[in-house]
Amino acid sequence: MGRYLLKTIMWIIPTLFGVVTIVFFLIHLTPGDPALAILGSHATAEAIQELRKSLGLDQPLYLQYLRFLGNLLKGDLGRSLVTEQPVLLETLRPFPYTIHLALAGVVISLLVGIPVGVISAVRRNTFLDYSMRAASISGVSIPVFFLAIILLWIFSYHLKWFPIIGVGDTSSWWSLLYHLVLPATTIGISMAVLIMRLTRSCMLEVLGQDYVRTARAKGLAEKSVIMVHALKNALLPIVTVVGLYMGQLLGGAILTETVYARQGVGKLLMDAILARDYPQVQGTVLIFASAVIFVNVIVDILYRFLDPRIKL
């Protein structure tokens, strides 16, 4: 156990370091002078020089990099050029909205994906199975942002059942929930099709195992064979893969937030990119990527805990 944890940590540190390095140099490769971009083309040469100095842009790149690393260790990601607030604070403020969206999306996708996958596996090669598989392959082929637009068009513009934009009135949870329905359904559907395919193939594998045959031979009801003996064993890989979809989930969240104009982290990132607010872009990308790394590690550890066959 101890050795495994040590190994994981030894893996996280260089990976995080690599991510930080890539993001830093990517952002600083950007052609054009950020100071010029902030002040506009009418600014005087002195003003630009002044700003460059205060941002530390006049120093050589490696010094900027070292200073960035140093600040990062202190938890300082710099200040946003637009709001002049610390980047970390700016990023954490809209975080709850993105978490709401992601969690609600995952819950919907599990509630839809697992039962449909189980039914599809149990009724293998029937009309029901074929139609569910056809639905899932169409679902896999729909880009998340287009799904969001279709739902928006049908349910907000046509039927007027749901609001068009925003996260709603932050003081009322009812309003928050109401504004969450369509975006969460978008994410939910786009993940459910993946989970359904996965559940189906895991179930098919488990249903072919000896212990399932034993359970049937004992004369157990088919329902309990499927629910207890098969599904329980199929759930483990499903849970793991859901964790590994984290990156995709965040990508989907960025697109969904853009369509529904939700003030989440994805929209923050888009706004920062468009405003050329480079410290904010840098910070948001870093926080996103680290979140994915940590979730993957946690899922890996959980998997090892849950699966007695794997020795720690």
């Binding site: 490769l29 996965l198 960025i254 853009t258």
Partner: protein, 299 residues
């Protein structure tokens, strides 16, 4: 001798032809997919000579008109013909999708083979880079690259290629490791063949099927990523039409002119689905172990 050789070649080609024919006959979905892909590629190549309207021609009095005989998919906010924009957009989207997978897989395969074959420090270094690239969500990495190097057609290709590379290098490293210890490689080494020859004539042919499968499944993923980038305004810039930016422009007119976004979206879904049908069938035929690989490609 030469004649014999060419006869053998012919026989071989015929055999490949029958194999493909039989494969498509057994997989109606793959057949449908191939037909759609073929039509899309042909129209994309022939679009300059097709009798369709200029996708950039503005006709303001005629703006936001619903679909009609003159404008199959209606007109957009500048009075441009949406049908011709979607057809021209397909040219860009398909080009980006195919090119970025070709470039990304070439680099990824090279890295993977080197990593798997030479092992040790080279392997550790390449796999570290792969791990780091894989820890970024695909769309996020593509967004970051595009916002850094600017949005042009080739920059989008570069961004999506970089996202594609680690997927291939990891797969190819694993496959290389599994054939590395095979007896026929031992024999080739014993005969004194050099490393380049071993890699090109013995390793690559033996790991080509998983590479082919991953490539077929990554083309639709690359098309979706390109569309997502253009939709966010980080991909190919208007007025050049791509499927993503047509949907983005139409988004503001969803209330009065939904046809701008909807038609273009339906075409993306159709083409991506066609690639997925073919990809699934190819995977089942070649390598059932790859199940689930595609899932990494979305988002």
């Amino acid at each position: 001798m030469i004649q014999q050789e060419s006869l053998r070649e012919k026989k071989k080609r015929k055999r490949i032809g029958t194999v493909i024919f039989r494969f498509l006959k057994q997989n109606p979905l793959a057949l449908f997919g191939s037909v759609v892909i073929l039509i899309t590629i042909l129209t994309s190549i022939l679009v300059p000579v097709l009798p369709i309207q200029d996708p950039l021609h503005q006709n303001l009095p005629n703006r936001l008109k619903p679909p009609s005989a003159d404008h199959l998919f209606g007109t957009d906010n500048y009075g441009r013909d949406v049908f011709s924009r979607v057809i021209w957009g397909g040219r860009v989207s398909l080009l980006v999708g195919i090119f970025s997978v070709v470039i990304g897989s070439l680099i990824g395969v090279t890295m993977g083979v080197i990593s798997g074959y030479f092992g040790r420090y080279v392997d550790a270094g390449i796999m570290r880079i792969t791990d780091i690239l894989l820890s970024f969500p695909a769309l996020l990495l593509a967004m970051a690259i595009c916002s850094a190097i600017g949005s042009s057609l080739w920059n989008v290709v570069v961004a999506i290629s970089i996202v594609t590379v680690p997927r291939f290098s990891r797969l190819v490293r694993g496959s290389t490791l599994s054939v590395k210890e095979a007896d026929f490689l031992e024999a080739a080494r014993a005969l004194g063949q050099n490393k380049t020859k071993i890699i090109f004539f013995h390793i690559l042919p033996n790991i080509s099927s998983p590479i082919l499968v991953l490539a077929t499944l990554w083309i639709p993923a690359a098309i979706i990523t390109e569309a997502s980038l253009s939709f966010l305004g980080l991909g190919v810039m208007p007025p050049t039409p791509t499927w993503g930016n047509i949907i983005n422009e139409g988004k503001s007119y969803l209330q009065n002119a939904p046809w701008i976004s909807i038609f273009s979206g339906i075409i993306i879904v159709l083409v991506v689905m066609a690639f997925n049908f073919v990809g699934d069938a190819v995977r089942d035929a070649f390598d059932p172990r790859l199940k689930g690989e595609r899932e990494v490609g979305r988002g």
